[in-house]
């Protein structure tokens, strides 16, 4: 066991997979010599050479399109997009090509690859270094979407993603890169994609979250305890495929739900979760579902702490559904 930060766990997973599978290649802006601007690929070019860790020209559709071609031709690329906010030049390659190739070729071509990208706010990054745009990709059939919230899951989920036969969007909560540490086994292991984790069992209110919102919701749960609400916090970990069973089981127990995400409210993944719960478990609900989300505005700079859900805002929402 090693005590690693989340970003070190990501690097560790890459190291493990590159060591045991020569098909795994990395590429992206500044990932080689510089080891990535967040150091997620630190030292890997030195270890595996310039053909397996490629510094790319500054072009995101190039990064993804090239990775796709490599995947089609037998490699297991793990391209990095430096910030999720800069993924849009590659949007066409991802949603029109990567996501659809299996379907449009009748299963004749596949492109197993993992698009790693840091997402989310809380690092004083303003409009373009803070967004949480998972919804665009969740809305695109053919892509899996995975979001770890701690070092152990980060390593296990990333290894699972690299071994997956489908393209995976692996969204890394950059705010947690260095602020959380945890025990991580040195050897390879997997965490199954598509399984949520009940990170805090409780009986009163189900709190659904992922990524950087998990520690926020855990703190909220602490705030709620003395206020008389026992939260069950569920870290979804995988948004596509979604572990509906764990969600419904919890909702049926608590009858009350708060959904938390950083992305804007309108058409955020919270809307989908809310609709699903209404479809499958509405008769168990004791109160309307409440969403705690980013505002329906671009992501601000100075007031990001007011824009983003924080423990107190989540706790207020929990109080609202509890006392409905």
């Amino acid at each position: 066991m090693a005590n690693l930060t989340l970003v070190q766990a990501v690097r560790d997973a890459l190291m493990c997979e590159m060591t045991q599978d020569p098909r795994v290649v990395l590429m992206g802006e500044d990932v080689g010599v510089n080891g990535g601007v967040f150091r997620a690929t630190e030292g890997l070019q030195k270890e595996f050479g310039e053909e397996r860790v490629l510094d790319t020209p500054l072009n995101e559709s190039g990064i993804i399109g090239m990775a796709m071609g490599m995947a089609v031709n037998g490699l297991r690329p793990v391209p990095e997009i430096q910030f999720m906010d800069f993924i849009y030049p590659a949007f066409d390659e991802i949603v029109s090509e990567v996501a659809k190739i299996r379907y449009r070729s009748g299963g004749g071509f596949t492109c197993p690859m993992v698009i790693r990208t840091p997402y989310g706010g809380g690092i004083r990054g303003g409009h373009y270094h803070s967004q949480s745009s998972e919804a665009y990709f969740i809305h695109t059939p053919g892509l899996k979407v995975v979001v770890p919230s701690n070092p152990y899951d980060a390593k296990g989920l990333l290894i699972s993603s690299i071994r997956d036969e489908d393209p995976v969007m692996f969204l890394e909560p950059k705010r947690l890169y260095r602020s959380v540490k945890g025990e991580v086994p040195e050897e390879s292991y997997t965490v199954e994609i598509g399984k949520a984790s009940v990170v805090r069992p409780g009986k009163d209110v189900t709190v659904l979250c992922w990524g950087a919102m998990v520690p926020v919701c855990m703190k909220a749960a602490q705030l709620c305890e003395p206020r008389g609400a026992d939260c069950e916090v569920i870290d979804l970990r995988s948004l596509v495929p979604l572990d509906e069973e764990t969600i419904f089981e919890s909702v049926k127990k608590t009858g009350r739900v708060v959904i938390v995400h950083e992305a804007p409210k309108t058409c955020g993944f919270g809307a989908e979760l809310s609709a699903l719960i209404n479809e499958e478990a509405i008769l168990y609900l004791e109160a309307p579902i409440v969403r705690v989300t980013g505002l329906d505005t671009p992501f601000p700079y100075t007031l990001e702490h007011i824009y983003m859900p924080d423990p107190e805002r989540v706790a207020l929402a929990v109080g609202k559904v509890k006392n409905f």
Binding site: L58, F83, D85, I123, Y128, H129, T297, T302, H305
Partner: protein
């Protein structure tokens, strides 16, 4: 500046010839980095001396104003970095070594022209009269900031002086400049648009699109590529297979010229010519300014992880400010006394603006909802009311943001 037009013509012609006849006979990668490329258009030698045969006739006032602006830009960058190091602002992007490019290009424009800058161009804002106080307020993202504290530091926006709002996504501005230029063409205003990106920026799709559109429509646009040899950690040799970025102009059907980016007079002369061409309706041009990024990529970057130190050392001897000062001295337009008083004046000016700017309060949380649309939608009105209610309920919001890592 009558020789100017020839410059563009000759350059673009010789490029074609070179490309056809001897594609391999170009300067090698290592040379390209260790010496200033010899194919660059240059007026001042590195010591500031000028061969009187090539000396352009630029008004003394213009040259002095350029010098002033370069010194101001340097001082502003130094102060910006210092404020960040002291933890008073969150982030800064210095433009050390690139003062001649910013100033030389800005000086060649008219007030009515449009500028679509990148994030490493404080000097253009300063030249065109952006207030120090407003720029500093942007660094704090406070109530004095024209962008209302919504953008990261150095992402300025000054509509009144036609300095377009800086965006983080690389190279997007190049295409928008073509649109602004086309609008000017259609409205017959004789405005031109100039847009900037880095060497890294030339790899983005938007660079291709911008130059394609400009070439297709003969839009009155000038593209300036600041080739400072690095895109964060990626050196030019890994950025492209092209030997010279200026060669890209050929493919888009526009003339291009490589300029010594540390020679303010050369930058000015080349830009003036491209601007005049555009204004005459002769279409777009590409100017590659060859320089070196003398500072870190940003306040969060450590260039010693990847920078070629020898190369960096070599470039410390090519300071564009020193070069222009030597020129001014040789013309007897400048002396020690004037230098000292300029330095003092700028120091005091910045100090005064810093003091005022730092005092401004953070934006009002209710302002978060403004400017998403011309008017608040019903949903936004609801969210605003909810936030107002929450503010009343809990009073304070704790800011637990981490420091910006890049």
């Amino acid at each position: 500046m009558n020789s100017g037009t020839d410059l563009m013509k000759k350059k673009s012609k010789s490029q074609t010839v070179e490309m056809k006849k001897k594609p391999s006979k170009t300067i090698s990668d290592s040379e390209k980095c260790t010496v200033l490329r010899e194919d660059c258009f240059r007026i001042m030698k590195e010591d500031g001396t000028v061969d009187s045969k090539v000396e352009p006739k630029i008004d003394k006032e213009v040259v002095l104003r350029m010098y002033h602006n370069m010194v101001l830009t340097r001082a502003f960058d130094e102060r910006g970095m210092m404020l960040q190091r002291q933890g008073r602002i969150g982030f800064y992007v210095p433009s050390f070594g690139q003062e001649a490019i910013q100033t030389g290009t800005a000086a060649a424009l008219l007030e009515k022209d449009w500028v679509f800058p990148s994030y490493r161009e404080p000097g253009i804002f300063l030249y065109r009269g952006a207030g120090l106080y407003e720029m500093l307020c942007n660094l704090w993202g406070n109530r004095g900031d024209l962008s209302k504290g919504r953008q990261m530091p150095v992402h300025y926006s000054f509509p009144k002086i036609k300095m377009f709002s800086v965006s983080s996504p690389i190279a997007t501005q190049l295409i928008q400049a073509v649109g602004a230029a086309m609008a000017a063409k259609i409205s017959k205003t004789k405005e031109i648009a100039i847009s900037y990106c880095g060497d890294g920026g030339t790899s983005e799709n938007d660079f291709h699109t911008g130059l394609t559109f400009a070439g297709a429509y003969k839009a009155p646009t000038v593209f300036v590529v600041t080739n400072n040899q690095y895109a964060i950690s990626v050196p030019l040799s890994k950025q492209t297979g092209a030997k010279r970025l200026v060669d890209k102009a050929v493919g888009y059907g526009m003339p291009g010229v490589s300029v010594d980016g540390n020679d303010a007079l050369a930058v000015y002369t080349a830009t003036k010519e491209a601007v005049d061409r555009a204004r005459r309706g002769e279409g777009p041009s590409l100017i590659e300014c060859v320089t070196f990024r003398m500072g870190p990529h940003s306040s969060s970057d450590d260039p010693t992880r990847y920078r070629d130190e020898k190369l960096y050392q070599a470039w410390t001897k090519r300071d564009p400010i020193v070069r222009l000062r030597n020129y001014l001295n040789s013309k007897k337009w400048w002396d020690e006394k004037k230098e000292k008083s300029l330095q003092e004046q700028i120091k005091a000016q910045i100090a005064e603006a810093v003091e005022r700017a730092e005092k401004e309060p953070a934006p009002d949380p209710m302002d978060l909802f403004e400017d998403v649309y011309a008017e608040l939608t019903p949903q936004l009105k609801k969210q605003k009311a909810e936030l107002l209610h929450e503010v009343e309920l809990r009073g304070k919001f704790e800011n637990t943001s981490e420091a910006f890592p890049l």
